[in-house]
């Protein structure tokens, strides 16, 4: 590609070693509270060069507050923020090496596409030739060639979004911040923009931090996800780690679909739903058994064949929803709890109908036992 838009930092590997050695963004004890209300509990976070980090959480979890503190729009109540080694805690957004893609984009409605993108460079009083060159470059990166003279109000949502990204990237920020960048787009456009953002991130090798409440978006874009709940970071890891090994009930429920069965662990033995009992080492107390819908299988007949390591629960089909690639079955197990299982087997779908007795089974390694605090 050889794109000449570069972010202000050298390219670097994404290894944990590099991340730990010289984090680009370093938050130490950063928190924000409004009077008695705490939006973000004091937390630490290190973001390495070249990372594509998602801050994921439900609305009101403090993720946008955190991003705004990194961008300089909110002053933290406690802690310090360092970017590229320099303390920026007390600096406003106009003096930070960050640029933001705002929720709703925040384009200047009275300017054309090119004027929007050029604005920051004009403020820096760059020579006209350099401005024109860098604007053209940014427009090319955003696939916006030929849109220069259009008023931004005449653009579609997806185009406006790309202008917002181009306007921020033209400044060559050390860190690009994105606040719910795709929330205002419809599903199809969102998928396309995800690809677009991944392409841009790859081609300039920059550091992106974005905030989203959409777990699919986080999984699809980020190289690392930080999950927030009530102002705290509850888990930090790669998308694969977070999906496969959610640390808390909240994370497992928030990332992807999950069945949750309450149970207890006593002396290394877990009991769930009365009939299910299996060994699982750990401290005594209440637990939640988390089972992904695609991890379980449905079997019919009196004595179905299940693996040695597998667990099984008897139940009855309550609902069948055909979703295209897969079919989702809602199965009422003993005690009335509904388990959701997805399966792509069309032969199974023909055999099953509402009311049929079935057995839900899964290998032990595919569920997760989460101790309740």
């Amino acid at each position: 590609m050889g794109s000449r838009i570069e972010m202000g930092a050298p390219r670097a590997g994404r290894t944990a070693a590099v991340r730990a050695a010289s984090p680009l963004v370093l938050l130490a004890g950063v928190g924000k509270s409004y009077g008695a209300m705490t939006a973000v509990e004091p937390l630490d976070l290190a973001v390495g060069h070249g990372e594509f980090l998602a801050i994921l959480g439900p609305s009101g979890c403090g993720k946008t507050t955190l991003l705004k503190m990194i961008g300089g729009f909110l002053a933290p109540s406690t802690g310090t923020i360092r970017i590229g080694g320099a303390d920026v805690t007390r600096l406003g957004p106009e003096r930070r090496p960050t640029n933001m893609v705002f929720q709703g984009y925040g384009l200047f409605p009275h300017m054309t596409v090119a004027q929007n993108v050029a604005y920051g460079l004009r403020l820096q009083k760059r020579p006209a030739g350099e401005v024109a060159e860098r604007v053209a470059e940014a427009l090319r990166l955003g696939a916006l060639e030929g849109f220069d003279a259009r008023p931004v109000t005449a653009l579609s949502g997806g185009q406006q979004q790309r202008v917002a990204v181009a306007r921020a990237l033209v400044m060559r920020p050390k860190v690009l911040l994105l606040d719910e960048p795709l929330a205002a787009l419809d599903l199809k456009l969102r998928k396309a923009m995800q690809e677009e953002l991944r392409r841009i991130h790859r081609s300039i090798g920059g550091t992106f931090i974005f905030v989203t409440h959409d777990q699919e978006e986080a999984m699809g874009l980020a190289s690392r996800i930080v999950v927030m709940e009530r102002g705290c970071i509850v888990q930090d890891g790669t998308p694969e780690e977070i999906y496969a090994e959610p640390k808390t009930r909240f994370v497992s429920g928030f990332i992807g679909e999950a069945n949750m069965l309450p149970g207890r662990r006593e002396r290394g033995l877990v009991r769930v739903n009365g009939s299910l009992c299996f060994p699982d080492p750990g401290p005594d107390g209440p637990i939640t058994l988390m089972l992904r819908p695609e991890a379980a299988r449905v079997a019919t007949g009196e004595s179905p064949v299940v693996g040695i390591d597998s667990l099984a629960l008897r139940g009855q089909v309550r609902d069948i929803v055909f979703l295209g690639a897969v079919t989702r079955y809602a199965i009422a197990i003993e005690g009335g709890t509904l388990l959701h299982v997805t399966d792509s087997d069309s032969e199974l779908r023909r055999r099953l109908e509402v009311g049929v007795p079935v057995t839900v089974h899964w290998p032990q390694r595919s569920h997760r036992v989460i101790a309740e605090a």
């Binding site: 957004p93 933001m100 925040g106 009275h110 604005y119």
Partner: protein, 281 residues
């Protein structure tokens, strides 16, 4: 589609008829009359520019005075109204709307009421003089407060202020706050983002406010008569007298169209100048 358009046209019809019958026709009539003359108290059809010559030779002083006063009022009021509207929109938080409502509440007080209010405040027996004498700052009432151009400016400014606040607030309300953050993010300080983002978008409201205030002030003849004193008559006073006891409709019409044309020039001048200073660079 065609039905919708013809329905829209149909709905425009009543207001269109009213505009033509009660505005366009009378104004056109007086425009024609401004080229006529009066002989022995009777209108005579003619095609002469005498009346316009008379306006510029015999009435240039009140004309100039009128435009100076109206310009001073319009500029001051637009500025104050912008400050107030800006405060309501961006700084007052949830008190913004109540504050705006309070300002508009003053519109309930009638036009004449306000003129007499200012007479009461500024007069020899007025509140201002009583206060000054009570505090011992002056021994005798100061008569210079009233019956001068400043009194006219104060009175008209007070009356037109809420009328100017409305259009400015309207245009400020339409300004999204996210682009203001974006401007800061791209390196603009508060002054730059105000100049580059707020002002260009507030421009239509500013011009509307200026035009409303200016036209009101330039056309008013009651305020100068009541608080302006004997030698400070604005052109409106003379126009009124041409149509009143002087019975010189052609001269009155010529004066009116001169004022209309000059007012348009002033407003366009204001719009052009401010546009230049708020353009995207």
């Amino acid at each position: 589609m065609r039905d919708a358009r013809s329905l829209a046209n149909l709905m425009l019809l009543p207001s269109g008829l009213i505009l033509v019958a009660f505005f366009l026709l009378p104004v056109s009539y007086f425009f024609v009359v401004s080229f006529w003359r009066v002989r022995s108290y009777k209108l005579q059809a003619d095609a002469t520019l005498d009346q316009y010559v008379e306006v510029f030779t015999g009435y240039w002083v009140p004309l100039l005075y009128t435009f100076a006063v109206a310009l001073a009022i319009a500029l001051a009021v637009t500025l104050i109204a912008f400050g107030f509207a800006f405060y309501c929109r961006f700084r007052a938080g949830r008190y913004g709307m109540p504050l705006l409502f309070l300002a508009l509440l003053t519109l309930f007080g009638g036009y004449l009421t306000k003129i007499y209010t200012w007479k009461t405040i500024l007069g020899a027996e007025g509140i201002l003089n009583s206060a000054l004498m009570l505090t011992g700052l002056t021994d005798a009432p100061i008569t210079a407060f009233l019956f001068n151009p400043v009194a006219v400016v104060i009175t008209l400014a007070h009356y037109t202020l809420p009328i100017a606040i409305l259009p400015i607030f309207g245009s400020l309300r339409g300004i999204d706050e996210v682009p203001l953050d974006a401007a800061r993010d791209l390196g603009a300080g508060p002054c730059r983002s105000f100049r580059d983002v707020v002002l260009p978008q507030a421009w239509p409201g500013l011009v509307t406010a200026f035009a409303l205030t200016f036209l009101f002030a330039a056309g008013d003849y009651v305020t100068p008569m009541l608080v302006g004193g004997p030698n400070t008559s604005m052109i409106g006073v003379f126009i009124q007298s041409q149509f009143g006891h002087r019975v010189d409709a052609p001269l009155g019409s010529a004066m009116s169209f001169t004022v209309i044309a000059l007012s348009l020039a002033v407003i366009l001048g204001f719009a052009g100048t401010t546009r230049y200073f708020t353009r995207v660079r």
